[in-house]
């Protein structure tokens, strides 16, 4: 931390108060640690005595600086990824200081999404840690004039085994810095038995700051001379400003000026939506100024979008033959043979991310360069987007990554950061753009609305001999390319072309759907609706066949085996995981089902009237999850969730405590989807606005207790941030069926 920068910041800040109409009689009300200022202080890693890779620097006092190159939005990435490096380096975590990376391709992929930070970091971080450890070992051997093979690390020191001599990492740093960086093939890795942190984890590096109000979120970024902005966006996607009142907003105390922002050029990608910005000397004044803008809009063709009519279209499409994305055997021939036929339609609405911290960014444009402080999951996308918007090289955009008050996919898309940069350039001052909750709900990149149709033919035992499934939704690709109406292989791979069932005849299809709002990824993405349809349908088949769901599900999964997904679904990309490393293994599917069933007392508990258990299993982001939900439904249909048991096989788990928290949170996130989550549009405009009409789960509605059972595994690490979400909705709906006999094929319950 540079005290100078903070001091300058404080002084400027206090000067700024005068213009806001305040006279402060106190000293120092400004908090200790403004994180945005901390990151501006320059890299300790690059400045350290020894920094063999971009991820680690060791100073002569033994302080180990580690780079957190992924964003922290609550999933512990900022802690868990550097923790891997610290382990391989054999460093003392208490002597580690983290530094949040700015956006820079030298760190590789920094996009914190897709539940792959630990998965990627497990390779990169161990390499960096092993590199630094080997060089320190070589430096010690050189110092003592002994063979490297006689030296080894032991928590922040190198030990010469025969003589028991020791040298600390700090003491060795300067000498290590003079050595050549070893080749990858010369590196050795600690065996599992010597892991200090992997599998044991650590609490969040920021834990205490998060409990004392000192943590620096994007919302808290501040630099001297900055002004605040709020943007009135077109209510309909692609809408344009016809006219607005430039004068009236200026009558609001604190408002300085209004500035139009041009509409985007399709496809919208991450471009700002356009509209009119109000600049003011505090956030609230900017919000108030917007109310006086009286904008007249040209809404454009998306004004025809109405959720009710669109739903009918989706459901009609789902009943017609569509694009085949996976095929096994001959479904049509099998259906033609007769047998018991089961059919069901499922429907889920758009969802909004509703991160507790709405989108926010501070940008400072000077002489063709931009510095931005923001809550972003993807700082390199911030650089690219701002570079394109302002016509400057992306290298001229410095993106500091603040802590995120939630992400869930929304903050991978930096439209709000581009707004701040555009406005800063326009007025020649640093500008902080703050989205209101209403902006957040009405102008999201929404989780797709979806309709699914499933059909099965059952044999005399009630098992499916043919299984057809069709999924229709506006694809995420529509955000990036015009006229995209079909999902790509990656999106179809999210729980649709990777069914782990033993089916002689199976066909998965995808129907065409146009977008009328911005579509984006939301925590676990298409897995949400795909798992809902598939796992609900399994329950319908089990019930129809008079079978216990768990027993039926296990038979459906079949014997332990590796499923070659590519053989039947060539475009499935397996979340980018090589099939050799991350095969679809039905033994692991079975194990999580069995564990969740056992821990929840499945088949052994006597359930009271109105109570029931439901199960669902789903592999996503290469992690296997089975969830059993217990519900109590009262006479009025109100639901309580006394318990949730989730069994997780995520391969090697670096941070078990962080992982448990993710699955506890996923049950609450799932509860919101089930109970109340729905974004709808009328005449192209989103109808919801805030937590009154887009409710999310509160404490009294959330599961009372979620217990997470992590399977010990030596398989490569997989994702944990998202995979808890998909099985929750079908599990609870299956539980409601068990409790009441009421079948739920669409969500949320509040609209059913």
């Amino acid at each position: 931390m540079s005290d100078n920068i903070l001091n300058v910041s404080r002084r400027g800040f206090l000067q700024g108060l005068v213009s806001a109409g305040a006279l402060v009689l106190s000293v120092r009300l400004v908090p200790e640690a403004l994180w945005a200022a901390d990151t501006a202080a320059g890299s300790h890693v690059d400045g350290a005595a020894f920094h063999p890779t971009v991820f680690v620097g060791i100073d002569s006092d033994g302080t180990v600086y580690l780079v957190a190159h992924r964003s922290e939005m609550g999933t512990s990435s900022r802690t868990s990824v550097p923790l891997i490096l610290a382990d391989e380096l054999d460093a003392d975590w208490k002597r580690v200081k983290l530094e949040q990376a700015i956006g820079d391709p030298k760190y590789g992929d920094q996009d914190t999404d897709g539940s792959h930070s630990v998965r990627d970091g497990f390779v990169t971080m161990r390499e960096a840690g092993a590199t630094a450890r080997l060089m320190l070992t070589q430096a010690a051997a050189q110092k003592w004039g002994v063979p490297v093979s006689e030296c080894e690390s032991d928590l922040h020191v190198i030990v010469h085994k025969p003589s028991k001599r020791k040298a600390g990492y700090g003491e060795l740093a300067s000498a290590a810095a003079k050595l050549p960086v070893p080749k990858k093939e010369d590196l050795t890795y600690k065996p599992k038995t010597k892991w200090r942190y992997i599998g044991k984890g650590a609490v969040s590096y920021d834990l205490q700051n998060l409990c004392t109000g000192k943590a620096g979120f994007g919302m808290d970024a501040h630099i001297p001379g900055m002004v605040y902005a709020s943007v009135e966006h077109p209510p309909v996607l692609g809408g344009k400003v016809k006219s607005y009142d430039e004068k009236a907003p200026l009558l609001v105390k604190g408002v300085k000026q209004t500035i139009p922002i041009k509409p985007f050029t399709p496809p919208h990608r991450f471009q700002p939506l356009g509209g009119v910005a109000v600049i003011a000397d505090n956030t609230w004044a900017a919000f108030q100024g917007r109310k006086k803008l009286n904008v007249a809009w040209d809404n454009g063709p998306n004004a025809s979008y109405n959720s009710d009519e669109y739903r009918k279209q989706l459901q009609e499409t789902a009943r017609k033959p569509a694009k085949v994305v996976r095929n096994i055997g001959d479904v049509d021939a099998a259906f033609a043979k007769g047998g018991k036929i089961m059919e069901a339609d499922y429907y889920l609405p758009h969802l909004a991310h509703a991160t507790m911290e709405p989108p926010v960014a501070l940008a400072d444009y000077k002489d063709g360069k931009v510095t931005v402080w923001t809550s972003t999951q993807n700082p390199q996308a911030v650089q690219e987007t701002i570079g394109e918007e302002l016509g400057i090289p992306k290298e001229n955009v410095t993106c500091h990554v603040a802590l995120l008050g939630g992400g869930f996919g929304r903050k991978s898309k930096p439209d709000y950061a581009a707004e701040a940069a555009i406005l800063s350039k326009a007025i020649g001052k640093p500008v902080k753009v703050v989205w209101s909750r209403e902006d957040d709900i009405k102008f999201g990149f929404y989780h797709s609305v979806s309709a699914m149709y499933l059909k099965a033919a059952l044999n005399e035992k009630g098992m499916p001999v043919a299984w057809l499934q069709r999924s229709v939704f506006p694809p995420i690709g529509s955000t990036f390319a015009l006229n995209t109406t079909y999902a790509d292989g990656g999106e179809m791979g999210l729980g649709w072309t990777d069914l782990p069932f033993d089916l002689p005849n199976h066909r998965a299809e995808n129907g065409s759907a146009e977008h009328h709002v911005r579509i984006g990824w939301l925590r676990s993405v298409a897995n949400i609706y795909h798992a809902f349809a598939v796992q609900s349908f399994v329950n319908e088949l089990a019930h129809e066949s008079g079978r216990d769901h768990v027993e039926y599900l296990l038979e459906l999964v079949g014997s332990p085996r590796i499923i070659d997904i590519k053989a039947t679904a060539p475009e499935n990309d397996n979340y980018g995981g090589a099939p050799a490393e991350y095969p679809l293994d039905t033994a692991r599917v079975r194990r999580v089902i069995e564990l969740a069933a056992e821990k929840s007392g499945w088949g052994k508990r006597k359930m009271a009237k109105g109570s029931g258990l439901g199960i669902a299993v789903h592999r996503s982001f290469l992690t296997y999850v089975a969830t059993v939900v217990e519900v109590e439904v009262d006479d009025k249909g109100d639901i309580k969730i006394p318990s949730v048991h989730t069994a997780v096989d995520a391969g090697i788990v670096v941070n078990p405590e962080g992982t448990r928290a993710q699955f506890e949170g996923a049950a609450v996130f799932g509860t919101s989807i089930v109970r109340s989550g729905a974004i709808t549009a009328k005449n192209g405009a989103i109808e919801q606005s805030n937590f009154n009409d887009y409710p999310v789960a509160r404490m009294n509605e959330a599961p009372y207790k979620t217990t997470v059972h992590i399977i010990d595994s030596d398989a490569p690490p997989a994702g944990v941030g998202e995979p808890g979400v998909p099985p929750f909705a079908p599990a609870i709906c299956n539980a409601i069926f068990a409790a009441t006999g009421k079948r739920i094929r669409e969500l949320p319950l509040s609209k059913a």
């Binding site: 109000g213 609230w284 939630g406 909750r437 506890e664």
Partner: protein, 151 residues
């Protein structure tokens, strides 16, 4: 001129008397521990204490707060950590942490009124505070621990 007393420090303000206390704290005083979540008293992220009781600072104007003792997360404990903050750390409550200032301020206020809260008391006291990450069961456990109750 509106006179305010925040964390024991007096200040005066001659801006818009309707300015919500939240924005006075954040944008004027620079006390950013109190968070903006909804602007309509629906989520509790902006919770502070007024004369020792939890209020929503986004729906309280500076003129309404005048003459009251306002306390924010930054000053909830004079020395070190407040016992509720200690339990928050012990139970590893936060994920993203954005709502937790408000959760902690609400919990401290609840425990003043109900030193041994039942589950119903906790639901009643805390359900106005949204946590989108879903840390509710840890919040409940931390509150019970702070009250000296077993989970």
């Amino acid at each position: 001129m509106i006179q305010l007393k925040v964390n024991g420090v007096e200040s005066s303000f001659d801006g818009d008397p309707n300015l919500p206390l939240l924005w006075y704290l954040r944008d004027v005083l620079g006390l950013t521990g109190t968070k903006f979540g909804c602007g309509m008293a629906l989520c509790g992220a902006c919770t502070v204490h007024q004369d020792g009781k939890a209020i929503r600072s986004c729906a309280t104007s500076v003129s309404a707060a005048s003459g009251k003792e306002i306390t924010t997360i930054e000053a909830i404990s004079k020395n070190g950590l407040h016992p509720v903050q200690q339990k928050w750390i012990e139970y590893n409550v936060p994920q993203c942490g954005y709502c937790q200032s408000g959760q902690i301020m609400q919990a401290i206020s609840l425990l003043k009124e109900k030193p041994k809260p039942s589950d119903e008391d906790i639901d009643g006291g805390m359900s106005g505070n949204i946590c989108r990450c879903g840390t509710y069961q840890r919040i409940r456990a931390a509150i019970k621990a702070a009250a000296g109750e077993k989970e």
